[in-house]
């Protein structure tokens, strides 16, 4: 079966579609034909060319990576697919889909399925169901719209504890590092922590699963041999397991791989010996989640880490010659303008430059996060009551502690301090 997987972020340049690559690898291993389109703000294509591509490739299943910002464009592309290919089914996946309300499906006629579970499993069950003519019945890990308009959600899926169970998008040739300036690696999923603003705890039930050290090294070796050696680890918490991360870094060294890496980690894992090993192995940048430096704010975030600890880790990493990025947010529960300024000053005091991912962003309320589920309890006041059901509150709110104008004011102060005009990479 021909499957098309699309990632379209109209507001940022395209990046390695690692998640779609993982899905593609599973499908390819099952003998399906897969094409992946990674489109972004700088991608150039005409509607006419897209039309011709769809007519030529004729995908039976088209899947989209979906998040809050791109859902309008995804819906538009899905509409085009449906218009051109009447028997093609369209699947919404990605973070927006996991906890998307059923009601949203009823107002999106161009969407057939919403993937709730792990993509590698649900894309397989969908393709098998469509292939077997069972596309209208319950499908595990998927919500679909029945003929009578009702939404049917299939049984939940149980993802494998060991991510090595999935084939590699690199080694299977689904993604080609030779075509990339930078390769994104995703070697683990989930996070044991329970930050209230984050979607990950609910999506992965606070479990962390990972690829083995050997599998990661196998992928890295291949990517380095074919590509540039610029690696960007999208793991939510790359160093959650010290033994594993040490194994990966030592493996890179023993294999003599020339890499430059960006990794995200928690500060409490960033010990001096690990910093030293990271530096030696080719880690160029470490990013850490600070969120807020104000004692009025961070305890309620459930982050379980003291900003001072983050500051120490940041200074130690900078001293060791690493670039450090600190993720921070404003308009958090309990946060006043003064609290927000404390965070800005804290980042500067750490010696971190305000650019890239160190540009703060307004907190966003996504489906699945504790904050979104119970926003009123957290003092969040949506700016409107009539959100389309496919959108979460996002940034459209003020709080009991900050008005809309004050939130904008804090954003402007950060922007004025920014060295790159506020160009954040990770949301």
């Amino acid at each position: 079966m021909r499957v098309l997987l699309v990632d379209f972020n109209p507001f940022m340049p395209p990046v390695t579609p690692i998640s779609l690559g993982n899905l593609g690898a599973v499908l390819k291993a099952l003998g399906h034909q897969v094409r992946i389109l990674s489109l972004g703000s700088t991608s150039r294509f005409s509607p006419q060319r897209l039309l011709a591509f769809l007519k030529g490739y004729k995908p039976r299943v088209t899947g989209f990576g979906t998040y809050q910002r791109n859902i309008h464009h995804v819906r538009a592309l899905a509409g085009m697919v449906k218009q051109v290919l009447h028997d093609s089914v369209v699947v919404l996946g990605g973070p927006q889909a996991t906890f998307l309300p059923d009601a949203a499906l009823s107002i999106m006629p161009e969407i057939d399925y919403v993937s709730r579970g792990e993509g590698e499993l649900t894309i397989r069950t969908i393709v098998e169901a469509v292939e077997g003519g069972r596309g209208e019945g319950p499908i595990a890990g998927v919500t679909l719209r029945a003929r009578d308009g009702a939404c049917i959600t299939g049984a939940s899926t149980e993802p494998p504890a060991d991510l090595d169970a999935y084939p590699s998008p690199w080694l299977t040739g689904v993604l080609d590092p030779a075509a990339l300036e930078e390769s994104i690696m995703l070697t683990s999923r989930g996070c044991p922590n329970d930050c209230c603003f984050c979607y990950t705890p609910a999506a992965f039930e606070r479990r962390t699963r990972s690829q083995s050290v050997e599998r990661v090294l196998e992928d890295i070796t291949w990517v380095c041999r074919r590509g540039t050696g610029h690696l960007w680890f999208a793991d939510p918490n790359f160093s959650y397991c010290e033994r594993r991360v040490v194994g990966i870094l030592e493996g890179i060294l023993s294999k003599g791989l020339k890499v430059e890496m960006w990794v995200e980690t928690r500060a409490d894992m960033l010990t001096p010996p690990l910093i030293s090993l990271m530096k030696e192995a080719g880690v160029r940048s470490v990013a850490m989640g600070l969120e807020s430096a104000s004692p009025n704010v961070y305890p309620a975030l459930n982050k379980g880490i003291d900003p001072e600890e983050i500051g120490c880790a940041a200074r130690a990493a900078i001293e060791a010659g690493l670039d450090v990025e600190l993720f921070s947010q404003y308009a958090l529960p309990g946060e006043t303008v003064d609290d927000a300024m404390k965070t800005l000053n804290f980042v500067k005091d750490c010696g971190v430059q305000i650019k890239g991912n160190s540009n703060a962003q307004q907190m966003q309320l996504y489906f699945g996060s504790k904050l979104h589920s119970d926003f009123r309890k957290h003092g969040v006041r949506p700016l409107r009551e009539d959100f389309p059901s496919f959108l979460s509150i996002g940034t459209q709110f003020e709080t009991d502690w900050m008005s809309r104008a004050e939130i904008e004011q804090v954003g402007n102060v950060w922007l004025a301090e920014s060295l790159d005009g506020g160009k954040r990479v990770v949301s």
Partner: protein, 591 residues
């Protein structure tokens, strides 16, 4: 690009510039609008359409509104297109004239903006992007005050439209200060060359600026992202340059839209350089000095790489003038100085680098280049002072070997061979290299140590000199052999030297001399003829011709050659003696 390339990328145009013909009738206009409608699906999913009422003239005629009508129709067309392609976004930029105190003009403006309203409403409802943006380019009619201009801008702002101003000639007082705070863009055109040329240079600037974000993007590559449609000529052009030169890719008014061939754009660097240079005033007015400095500096480097040093120097000068950080100013000055140096503008180079030395810059780097200037002026003593300065500075940017090598060359030129040898030995510390070894031979030769010189030249030959250096190495080996009296061997080597570089006069001269010594006069004549062909002012080669013709018994010709040599350089003693003697012989034989 950080991510994947994709199979849809056929580089569709992102900007279309419609240059309207003011004399077009309603029927022609309908045809144009209909053609644009057919073209929209072929454009990039996020595109700009500029509707320019009068491309060349800077001042639009009072009351002219044909362009506005077209823009209105196109807004309707765009609205339909976007309704069918909900992932696409279109920016429509009609040029319009603002007249003084005429509220009637607001009625068609409102009509123009109407198609954007449903998109704005939906964007608000669904927290999305409006997708149809109508952003007029306003030209001020005569007598329009800054206040009226701002009022017009406010009219559009209040309707979620962002206008810009095209300002030919003098900027109305107060306008930029007041409007600049509202984020309005200005197209400032001091030469009043017309709105299309202004948009042209802006487009080039934005294209170059965008390339900074692209890994591996070539700064001076063809723009490739725009097409120009000239209603008057019927031409569809792959870029503004082609439009200016009147070279259409095809005609827009025949059949369906066809993408013009980007390859037809021709040489683009010159267009890019010229455009960037003419952008400066607009960039300053729009408070974009920081971006401008970056573009000018990087473009200067790109032009320098292409060896277009004049353009590079001009761009570097702009980068210097727009910099507000001393480090940036210094870097721009060094860049400019190097460009002047490379283009042989030594006085300019010295002046600029002297200025650069007053900034916080790598003083060793500046001193090194100033040393090169002195060297080019053949002031070797002064050059040595500069190189010494560079050496002492411990510069990170100039390798010690490079400095030592330059110092060695200075000493060779003033025949201080022991000093030259000392610096050449330092060059060879990291390992033996062809060029310093060769110059060790030159030092030996200068001191009359021919055997040692030949050993160095032979070592250089064994090390495999660069193609451009091979002829010099062979020539010097030939010189040594000749000095050692091994003329036959010298001839073999020099014949190879001539083969490697037939344009080097010295090779022909020395080979001719060796033939002369072995009494192969006809071959010698051939060599000296080639030499005077290369340099007709070489008196010694004319004289050598004379001597060989004399020995061949061709006295008439010999006398003529000696006369030529004498006329060029009357100080050559053997010419004078031979000329007198042979003239006498001829006279006697005539007598």
């Amino acid at each position: 690009m950080r991510g994947c390339s994709h199979p849809l990328d056929d580089r569709p145009p992102e900007s279309v510039f419609l240059l309207l013909d003011p004399d077009a009738g309603p029927q022609e206009r309908r045809r144009l609008v209909s053609w644009v409608e057919g073209m929209l699906p072929w454009l990039n999913w996020r595109s700009h359409v500029f509707v320019l009422e009068d491309a060349r003239s800077s001042i639009l005629e009072h009351g002219q509104s044909g362009g506005l009508e077209v823009a209105e129709q196109l807004a309707g067309v765009a609205s339909r297109f976007l309704g069918e392609h909900e992932f696409a976004t279109l920016y429509l930029h009609p040029s319009m004239t603002v007249r003084s105190w005429d509220a009637r003009q607001w009625v068609p403006w409102d009509r123009l903006l109407a198609p954007a309203k449903p998109f704005q409403t939906r964007a608000y409802r669904e927290l999305g992007e409006a997708r149809l943006f109508i952003s007029p380019i306003l030209t001020l009619d005569q007598n329009v005050s800054a206040g009226e201009a701002l009022e017009a801008a406010e009219f559009f702002h209040s309707r979620f439209s962002t206008p810009s101003f095209y300002i030919p000639g003098k900027v109305p007082e107060g306008l930029i200060n007041e409007a600049g705070n509202c984020g309005i863009r200005f197209y400032v055109d001091p030469g009043a060359g017309g709105i299309a040329p202004q948009l042209w240079v802006n487009h080039v600037f934005e294209t170059v600026l965008d390339r900074f974000g692209e890994d591996g993007g070539e700064l001076l590559a063809p723009c490739g992202g725009h097409v120009v449609v000239d209603e008057r000529s019927g031409g569809l052009f792959s870029c503004f340059r082609q439009w200016e030169e009147g070279k259409p890719s095809t005609s827009w008014n025949v059949g369906d839209f066809q993408l013009p061939d980007p390859a037809a754009q021709g040489p683009c660097p010159e267009c890019i350089g010229r455009s960037l240079l003419s952008m400066r005033e607009s960039l300053v007015v729009n408070d974009r000095e920081k971006e401008a400095r970056q573009v000018y500096f990087e473009a200067a480097r790109a032009f320098s790489t292409r060896k277009d040093y004049r353009m590079a120097a001009d761009l570097a000068r702009h980068a210097f003038e727009l910099s507000d950080q001393d480090e940036d100013r210094a870097a721009a000055l060094v860049q400019e100085g190097l460009c002047h140096l490379n283009s042989g503008e030594l006085e300019k180079a010295e002046k600029v680098l002297e200025l650069a030395s007053t900034y916080p810059v790598d003083q060793g780097l500046v001193a090194f280049h100033r040393g090169q200037i002195q060297f080019a002026w053949r002031d070797y003593i002064e050059a040595l002072d500069r190189f010494e300065e560079a050496l002492e500075s411990g510069s990170e940017h100039v390798p010690v070997e490079d400095i030592c090598f330059q110092m060695a060359l200075c000493h060779i030129n003033i025949e201080e061979y022991p000093d030259a040898r000392r610096y050449l030995e330092r060059c060879l510390k990291p390992g033996r290299k062809v060029v310093p070894v060769f110059y060790l031979g030159v030092c030996d030769l200068g001191e009359g140590r021919v055997e040692s010189a030949m050993a160095h030249f032979l070592e250089a030959l064994r090390m495999g000199p660069a193609r451009e250096d091979l002829s010099r190495v062979l020539f010097n080996i030939g010189t040594c052999l000749k000095d050692l009296g091994r003329i036959d061997e010298a001839i073999d080597v020099l014949e190879k030297a001539v083969e490697v570089d037939p344009e080097d006069l010295a090779n022909h001269n020395l080979l001719g001399f060796c033939y002369y010594k072995t009494k192969m006069h006809q071959r010698a004549v051939d060599c000296f003829l080639r030499a005077v062909e290369i340099n007709p002012c070489s008196a010694i080669d004319w004289a050598n011709l004379g001597s060989n013709l004399r020995d061949l018994g061709r006295i008439d010709e010999a006398v003529a050659m000696y006369k030529k040599a004498h006329s060029l350089d009357p100080t050559i003693e053997f010419v004078r003696v031979n000329l007198a003697r042979l003239t006498k012989v001829l006279e006697e034989s005539d007598g």
